[in-house]
């Protein structure tokens, strides 16, 4: 209390003066900072990288209004133009036909406006992904724009709400412009298009002669069109044919074919495939069982088979009885499960062997009681197998596993690396792993990944967003259980 009078509190006026000084100082600082525009001083290279790789097209365009420095930056830095109606406008409010028409109009407006600003630009990739509601007139000019801009890669992902099967002369589908002349495209992806309405010979293929990869989905093709196509694409190395509805016989051959990769994906009317391609390395097939013929395919070492069959064991018969005979050189086989029913149908003594197969990938589409038999049968047919990858299913269906007898033990002496994906801890899954641990006598590592994956094609897999069904406790319990079954020296991992 005694100090009360001695302590000198600043008077009100003094206090406010201090505040003012502080404020002035702060303002000075802000002003100083404001003067510095560091980002605009960055080199074009970095600003271009920000704009082209980290921003959406809308944000990229917006940067052009910031200042003179930025005005043309986006135009010179963007080399990949990707117009995807769904990412641009979302798919939430599209319910009625009117909504779709409105969205298509918007889409056309935005693409036209953007391209209008991008005159004289250089492009590498150009993609259109939208429903066009039969408003095809802008597509030709967009394609021409992309080609003029030097694009090497072009995607035309058109789709329709209701998808009528495209047939020859279907004026409703967009027709690839026949008057493009010489172009230098390397990669082309077409979906829901027609290649010509004028009949053969297709003038359009003239614009295909620099292609190294081509993907056609929902495109009308007949047997002779494919022959023409292969003749007119002398550089083609990668070909994907998907849902081309009318193709019934597919013949892949040509005098100077360079094709290395072929994917045949769900051609509903296909009955026969004949492959005569000396350079082919990888062949992937999904769809109903057809008649296969391989001639002069000595380099073909990777095969993916996903045979969807309503009846019985077509796929299994083919993989176990015929394929090994056609392609004894096979090194990698990716195969989806198909019904086996009884082991006795495929007695191991009668099986041909895959003497060069070192990598086997097996996919179960749903929990199947006989998946283990299927695995064991294929393992027996591939005595030198080194790597096995299993893709199990998370689906839980009550299946009567116990009804089936466990397969008898059989040593798989070359098998060293096993990877199991989609592991959810189901008893039948544990049975499979236990069998492997017992019979793969030189096993070095077994990796178990609870994450499910699905096949994208061409050796690429994608993780399901699905959550892991395995609790830490469960994982620990299974780990201990498996450890007891495994032989010394095996590296066992559950992710």
């Amino acid at each position: 209390m005694g100090n009360y009078f001695c302590s000198r509190k600043p008077s009100v006026s003094e206090d406010s003066i201090f505040k003012e000084i502080d404020q002035i100082e702060e303002e000075d600082q802000i002003e100083e900072e404001e003067e510095e525009d560091h980002i605009s001083n960055l080199p074009d290279e970095i600003l271009g990288y920000i704009i082209s790789s980290f921003l959406t097209l809308r944000d990229a365009v917006r940067t052009s209004t910031l200042s003179r420095r930025w005005k043309y930056l986006w135009k010179t830095s963007i080399s990949n133009l990707d117009f995807d109606a769904e990412t641009m406008f979302g798919s939430q409010n599209i319910r009625t036909h009117q909504d779709r028409l409105k969205r298509t109009s918007k889409f056309i407006g935005v693409v036209d406006q953007t391209l209008g600003l991008l005159q004289d630009s250089k492009l590498v990739r150009f993609r259109i992904c939208s429903q066009m509601e039969y408003r095809h007139e802008p597509l030709s000019r967009w394609i021409k724009f992309a080609i003029m801009a030097g694009a090497k890669e072009l995607h035309l992902d058109l789709y329709q709400q209701t998808r009528p099967p495209p047939y020859r002369g279907d004026y409703k589908n967009f027709c690839w412009p026949p008057d493009l002349g010489k172009v230098s495209l390397n990669h082309l992806h077409l979906s829901c298009c027609t290649l010509s309405i004028f009949g053969r010979p297709f003038p359009v293929f003239k614009s295909f002669d620099s292609l190294t990869s081509l993907s056609l989905k929902y495109v009308f093709l007949c047997e002779r069109d494919v022959e023409d196509l292969l003749c007119h694409c002398p550089l083609l190395e990668w070909l994907n044919l998907a849902r081309c509805n009318h193709l019934s016989k597919l013949r892949i051959s040509g005098p100077s074919l360079r094709l290395k990769y072929l994917r045949v994906n769900d051609l509903p009317h296909l009955v026969e495939i004949k492959i005569c391609a000396a350079s082919l390395v990888t062949f992937e097939f999904s769809g109903q069982m057809v008649s296969f013929c391989f001639e002069n395919t000595t380099l073909l070492v990777n095969v993916m088979l996903h045979i969807v069959s309503v009846h019985t064991y077509d796929g299994a018969t083919f993989a176990l009885r015929e394929l090994a005979g056609y392609l004894p050189q096979l090194e990698t086989l990716v195969i989806y499960s198909t019904r086996l029913y009884f082991e006795s149908l495929f007695p191991s003594a009668s099986l041909p062997t895959y003497t060069n197969l070192t990598q086997l990938v097996m996919v179960a589409r749903a929990p199947e009681e006989d998946f283990l038999y299927w695995i064991v049968t294929l393992l027996k047919a591939s005595p030198y197998l080194k790597t096995l990858q299993l893709h199990l299913s998370h689906l839980k269906v009550e299946i009567e596993t116990r009804k089936f007898m466990r397969p008898s033990n059989f040593p798989h002496s070359y098998l060293k690396f096993v990877e199991v994906n989609g592991f959810a801890g189901y008893p039948e899954q544990i049975d499979i792993i236990t069998y492997i641990l017992k019979n793969a006598i030189s096993l070095k590592s077994l990796l178990i990944d609870p994450c499910q994956r699905y096949y994208l094609g061409d050796g690429k897999w994608k993780n399901h967003d699905h959550q892991c069904l395995l609790s830490t406790r469960e994982r620990s319990r299974i780990y201990k259980l498996l450890l007891e079954e495994s032989q010394p020296g095996v590296r066992l991992t559950i992710l």
């Binding site: 900072e33 404001e34 003067e35 510095e36 525009d37 560091h38 980002i39 605009s40 001083n41 960055l42 080199p43 290279e45 970095i46 990288y49 920000i50 790789s53 980290f54 921003l55 959406t56 809308r58 944000d59 365009v61 917006r62 940067t63 209004t65 910031l66 200042s67 003179r68 420095r69 930025w70 641009m88 406008f89 979302g90 409010n93 969205r103 918007k106 407006g109 935005v110 406006q113 790597t387 060293k416 690396f417 070095k444 590592s445 990796l447 830490t472 994982r475 620990s476 780990y479 201990k480 450890l483 495994s486 010394p488 020296g489 095996v490 590296r491 066992l492 991992t493 559950i494 992710l495």
Partner: protein
């Protein structure tokens, strides 16, 4: 791993030490090291002593890891079984801790003012450290994404040097674009 030391000299002639494994996070340094023309000190005329320690800090954290964090390689090591029990759980925990820790580390690492951000970008670009470039560029991009031109200018202290007429034109373009893109 060998821990050979590499010496880096900043633009203002200060020398810094870094492990070779860490230095390999930079493509530029990696090429110099592999090129065999390593002669004592590597001069970096484009990187100042203000920013070089920050770059080294990043390299130390990321050197030696080549992006793959999870899967074990197929080169299955013959490990003794005795040391294996609970290995997976531990590994799993460690993995989670590692990711969390890295996120936290990045957050703290990226806590600096804008001038440092640009210097880091330039250094990462010059030294070809893709991870660091992407980290810094992403920070700048996040200040642009979904914002109006005025907000962006404010974020970066950009002065619009358009003439009033041009300015008006820009506003028109922007409005037109907004109309065009808006979907309701």
């Amino acid at each position: 791993m060998s821990s050979t030391k590499i010496f880096l000299k900043s633009s203002d002639d200060k020398t810094f030490e870094i492990d070779e494994t860490a230095a390999r996070a930079s493509e530029t340094l990696k090429n110099i090291i592999d090129g065999g023309c390593l002669d004592g000190v590597i001069p970096l005329p484009n990187v100042s002593s203000n920013i070089l320690p920050k770059v080294i800090e990043y390299c130390k954290k990321h050197g030696g890891d080549n992006g793959s964090s999870k899967k074990i390689a197929n080169g299955g090591v013959d490990k003794d079984k005795e040391i294996l029990p609970d290995y997976d759980e531990e590994e799993d925990k460690r993995e989670k801790v590692r990711v969390d820790e890295l996120k936290k580390w990045e957050e703290e690492y990226m806590d600096f003012d804008q001038q440092v951000l640009y210097d880091l970008m330039l250094a990462a670009n010059y030294l070809h450290i893709k991870g660091l470039l992407d980290l810094t560029v992403e920070k700048a991009a996040s200040m642009i994404r979904g914002r109006t031109p005025d907000q962006i200018r404010e974020n970066f202290n950009i002065n619009s040097d358009f003439t009033p007429e041009e300015e008006e034109e820009m506003i028109l373009i922007e409005d037109e674009w907004d109309d065009e893109w808006a979907f309701d």
